[in-house]
Symmetry: D2
Amino acid sequence: MICIVASTNRAGSRSTIVARAYESVFASLGAESSFLSLEDLTGVMVDAVMSGNREGSGFDALQATVDAADAFLFVIPEYNGSFPGMLKVLVDLLRYPDSFQGKVAALVGISSGTQGSALAMGHFADILNYCGAHTLALRPRLIRIGDAIEGEQLVDEEYLSFVKMQADQLVAFQRAG
Amino acid sequence: MICIVASTNRAGSRSTIVARAYESVFASLGAESSFLSLEDLTGVMVDAVMSGNREGSGFDALQATVDAADAFLFVIPEYNGSFPGMLKVLVDLLRYPDSFQGKVAALVGISSGTQGSALAMGHFADILNYCGAHTLALRPRLIRIGDAIEGEQLVDEEYLSFVKMQADQLVAFQRAG
Amino acid sequence: MICIVASTNRAGSRSTIVARAYESVFASLGAESSFLSLEDLTGVMVDAVMSGNREGSGFDALQATVDAADAFLFVIPEYNGSFPGMLKVLVDLLRYPDSFQGKVAALVGISSGTQGSALAMGHFADILNYCGAHTLALRPRLIRIGDAIEGEQLVDEEYLSFVKMQADQLVAFQRAG
Amino acid sequence: MICIVASTNRAGSRSTIVARAYESVFASLGAESSFLSLEDLTGVMVDAVMSGNREGSGFDALQATVDAADAFLFVIPEYNGSFPGMLKVLVDLLRYPDSFQGKVAALVGISSGTQGSALAMGHFADILNYCGAHTLALRPRLIRIGDAIEGEQLVDEEYLSFVKMQADQLVAFQRAG
C-alpha cells in the first residue's frame, strides 16, 4: 500500500491536485494507494496537539492509514524555505519508530516560482531518514506549477512524465523493500 | 528588544528552562527581552491554523511581540531529526517578510542524548535566511541537557558560559544591526 | 559489488579503520566488496583536477571500480561542519550520471568528539540523491571514535553491532535493487 | 577588506564573471576588496593537499589574503547538488578557526538551469557557521546565468540590482561587525 500525502493544510492546494495525479498513475500501474490530505486532517492534528495525546477515533484512523502503508509519496510545497510546518506536526504526532521504519518514501516538490522546493525536500529527507525510511533518489521539482495545471488537473506533459517515472520507481522500490 | 523563543509546545519543557537562563543573562547585560513560549501559544496558533486567518487578539499580541523585536534567540530541541513542527507553524503564520527581515537571530540546540540538534539548527537557519534574518555564527549544542538542569534551573557551568558568550554576541550584533 | 569508500585523504585515518571493519563484515556475509581509500587516491584525483580531464590509467581504474559497484558504503568524518572536500572532488570528477544512478548507498559518520557527522551525512545524502542514488535510512553516528579503536581495529562492541546491522541492510537493499 | 571568492576551479567560469561584477560594485561603494579565484589557486591548493602541509609561498599568500579580510563574498555554482568540491578543499586547508571566526560572509548562487544553487548555499552556510562566520540573510539565486552574461560581462539589469543590493548589505554588515 502506497500512502500519498498532500503535505499542506492550505485549502484547495495545488499539492492536492498533483497528489491526485499520482493516485491515477498508481491505479494504472495496479498499485494500491491510500490518500492523506493535510487539509482534511488539520482538525484531527490540532486536536491531538491541543490535548497532548493521540487518542480519539480521528487520530486512530490517521495512524492506521500510515501503519497500513509500506511506501509513501509526499507532495511538498515549499513554504518559507522549508516544508509546511503542519507536515512536521504530523510526523511529530505519529508513533515512533514504527510509522516509517524500514519503509520507502518518495518526494516531489512543487513551487509557484522557480525555487523548486529543493530545501524543503532536503530537510524532509533528513527527517524521513531519522525516522528510518529509505528515500528514493528521484525528487522531481515541479516549478511554476500554476502553469502546469488546468482546472483541477495536472496537464503539463513533461511533468506528467516525471510523475509516471517516479511512480514506476516507487512501485519497483516498494516491491523490493 | 530581543525576543526569546522556547521552540516547543511540550509542557514543562527543558527548552523553557534554558530560555529562562538566557532571559537572566540578557537582563544582567541590560538588554531588554521579551519571551515567547510555544507551549503557552499553542492555543493561539491552533486557532489561526484552524480559521485560516491570523485575526484575533491572541494572534495580534503574538505578532506584535515579534514586530517589536529586532533580535531573536531560539532555543530548539531536536524532534525527529529537525526542529519541532509547531515552530515552523509559527513561522508560516507570521506576516512575511517584515516579521524577520533585516533582523538578527541566534540559535541554541538542546538534546537529551548526544544528537545535539545540529540538523534542527541547520534546517531552521535555512528558514530564517529565507525570511531575511541574519544568523549568528555561534550555535551552542547543549547535549545531555537533563544532566545540566537541577529543578527548574540550568546549572551546568560550561553550558552557562556558552549562554553568556552567545548572549554577549547577540547583544553586540543587535546594536550593530 | 559493494564499494566501500574511506572518505578522507588524511594519512592513517580512523575512517580507513572503520571501513576495514565493514569489509570484514561484508566478507562474512558472502557479499563481494571493493575498497577505495581517498588517501591512496589523492594523487590520481589531483592529476585529474590539474589536467582538467579524467584520462589516464589511474583515473580509469578508479572510474572502473565505481562502475562495477551497484552499492556503496561511505565512511565519512566531519570536517568543518561537512564532509571532507576531497570526497566532493571525487564526485565532481566521476562520470555523471551513470556512476551512481539507480545504485544504493549507505552512510556512516565518525567523529572524534560528539558532533557525530550529522551535517556531513545530511549534505552528502543530498549529493547522492542528486546523482541518482537511493540512500539507506540507517546512518550510524560513531562519536568519540578514538575510544572505540585499539591499534588498527574497531573494537567497541556497540559500534560493531551497528556496523553489522547496517551491512545487513545494505546487502538486503542491494539484492532488492 | 572584503574578499571575493570565485568558488570554482573550472577555467573561464561564469562565477568569475559574476565575481568581477561584485568587485566593480564594491569599488563604486568605496569598499576595498581582494579577489580569490579558485581557478588560479588550483595549483597552490593541490600542492598543499599532496604535501599534507600548508607551507610554501603560494599558500602563505592565499592564507594572508584570507587573514586580511573581515568580510567575504562567495560566488557559488551548484555542482552535483552542492558546492564545488574544491571550495571545501580550500576551507579544509585554511587555518582554523581564525580564518573565518567573527567575520561576515555573503553567498550568491549561480546556475545554468533553474536549480539556483539553494542546496549549495545551504550546505556552505552550515560550514561557514561552523567556522564562526556570520552569514548575511540575502542569498541571491542567479538562475539561467548564461542568459544574463554577454561577452565577459554580467549585463542582466535585475541581476545587477541584486548584486548592488547584496553588496550594500555586506558593506553595512562589515562596518557593523
